[in-house]
Symmetry: C2
């Protein structure tokens, strides 16, 4: 019997960094707030609550407390309002998202209509879009492009979209414009997680996918894995069922980019315990067979 | 029996314009020269010879005569040399090629390495390339891209390449760079001729393709047509063979972008004569069934 984790699993660079910044800030402040959930993982949000890192949903609720900007970023007008109100800002915007915001601003200033490949209701896209002063579009389906011809047009992407979708969008746009300026703002963390899960799913007879039920990147991992093998998407080890493990030779684990290491470790150890392998239990995600820390992802 | 011409055939906008400029200039000058063949059509070149429009192959051969720059353009250094020598310049560079030269220069000045999709030995590509001061590459096979990663890179194309090849090049480049700036410098005259020939070939049982044996766009029309039906590539009506026409119900004609109208008319009339239909002979290419003048092609 063999329990392995997908090579690239769990916290991505941007999430890891945001959590670290939040924890460091909480050490020197009695209380801090995050504008919106810091990540889409209820267990982590709960844990941060205990360290007096609270979520607020509007600037009115901040009430003078130091305010962390989550990895997805916030709208330009919100940032300006925080500054105007002299609120202490702890900026945990993912550097890749920040770059996308800067490109959005620059391209728009240079007179390009800007097309964002992404979901217009996602906080990251809302934030990026707010940096565009002129003509802009959000395209969720790469084949459904604006019905017009452009002399010039620029394209950027939500950092978590696939390169395949970006390629499709460009194919569709090319005959519709003279100049097409693409900034590839996709972060490879998403695609490496998907590829690693797919590979492990093909080598396993059961897959356990760990992450927030609302986390879209975790849901995508479960979807990919389910194409190959019996797959269960759980948030914590409490949801594990002994009957899933029966007669399984190769069990695979993977986790979304917002799933903390300790939840992955708990799930791994619970599986080993169920299978009577307590002696192989681990203290750290790095000790789980198969795990490999992300390389520089861009 | 039915003899038709492909909807888009013969002179493209740029060639038509270059010939017109040459003829107008010859009216007010005793003698002019073209630096290189004005077009890849020996019969037209011979005709222009009679109007004292001569081809030279180097600046030394010009000997003070007014000099026509052909539609493919010439190298930046050559243009500078002509100016320095106070030679009268008659610029018949195709406006679409001129635009590609200007973009090449601008993109290079803005610090972009520039990739040209095209044939590095073609005069148009040689001319465009000469406007690039920095790093540049010519890619003839869209799947064989430079083996390196780019922070930013620009792409332009020889005006006669297909949009499909440009798409392939972009697909290959996208994962290799952060910023990809594409200027679609392809002229649609080439693709509309190919599409029209393909359509007519599918509806015919014989295709006659007219144009210079060295004209690459004519050769491409013959190649496309030959995939569907018996096809003969000829330069003039003298090459027509009666036996090709035997038992043919639908005969299609097409011609490359450098094939003059009078050659097309001669071929058409010769076919009608062979078939005993002299009464249907025409004086003008526009009178051949199926012909339609190009719309604004860009």
């Amino acid at each position: 019997m063999n329990v392995r984790i997908a090579k690239n699993s769990g916290f991505c660079f941007g999430v890891k960094r945001a959590i670290r910044i939040a924890l460091e800030a909480s050490e020197t402040n009695s209380e801090i707030v995050t504008l919106g959930s810091i990540i889409h993982n209820p267990q982590m949000v709960e844990k941060l609550n205990k360290k007096e890192i609270y979520r607020v949903d509007s600037i009115e609720e901040i009430k003078g407390r130091p305010t962390l900007i989550r990895s997805h970023g916030i709208k330009k007008t919100e940032l300006e309002e925080l500054k105007k109100k002299n609120i202490e800002i702890i900026d945990a915007t993912c550097p890749y998202v920040y770059k996308a915001q800067q490109y959005a601003s620059k391209l728009s200033d240079e007179g390009y209509p800007v097309i964002i490949l992404g979901d217009e209701s996602h906080p990251e896209v809302i934030a990026i879009r707010s940096y565009i002063s002129g003509e802009n579009y959000v395209v969720v389906d790469p084949l459904k492009i604006p019905a017009k011809r452009f002399k010039k047009v620029a394209v950027i992407s939500q950092t978590t979209r696939s390169i395949e979708d970006l390629k499709k969008l460009i194919q569709a746009l090319l005959p519709m414009c003279i100049e097409l300026r693409i900034i590839n703002t996709i972060c490879s963390a998403t695609s490496v997680r998907q590829e690693a899960s797919l590979k492990l799913a093909q080598e396993s007879d059961l897959m356990i996918v760990i992450g927030g039920k609302k986390s879209s990147n975790t849901k995508m991992l479960a979807k990919i894995s389910a194409q190959f093998i019996e797959t269960h998407h759980i948030e914590t080890e409490k949801e594990l069922s002994l009957k899933w493990l029966k007669n399984k030779e190769n069990i695979g684990i993977t986790a979304g980019a917002s799933t903390p290491d300790w939840i992955i470790v708990n799930v791994y150890n619970k599986i080993l315990k169920c299978l009577g392998n307590e002696n192989k239990m681990v203290n750290n995600v790095k000790a789980i067979p198969g795990f490999k820390e992300d390389q520089n992802v861009v």
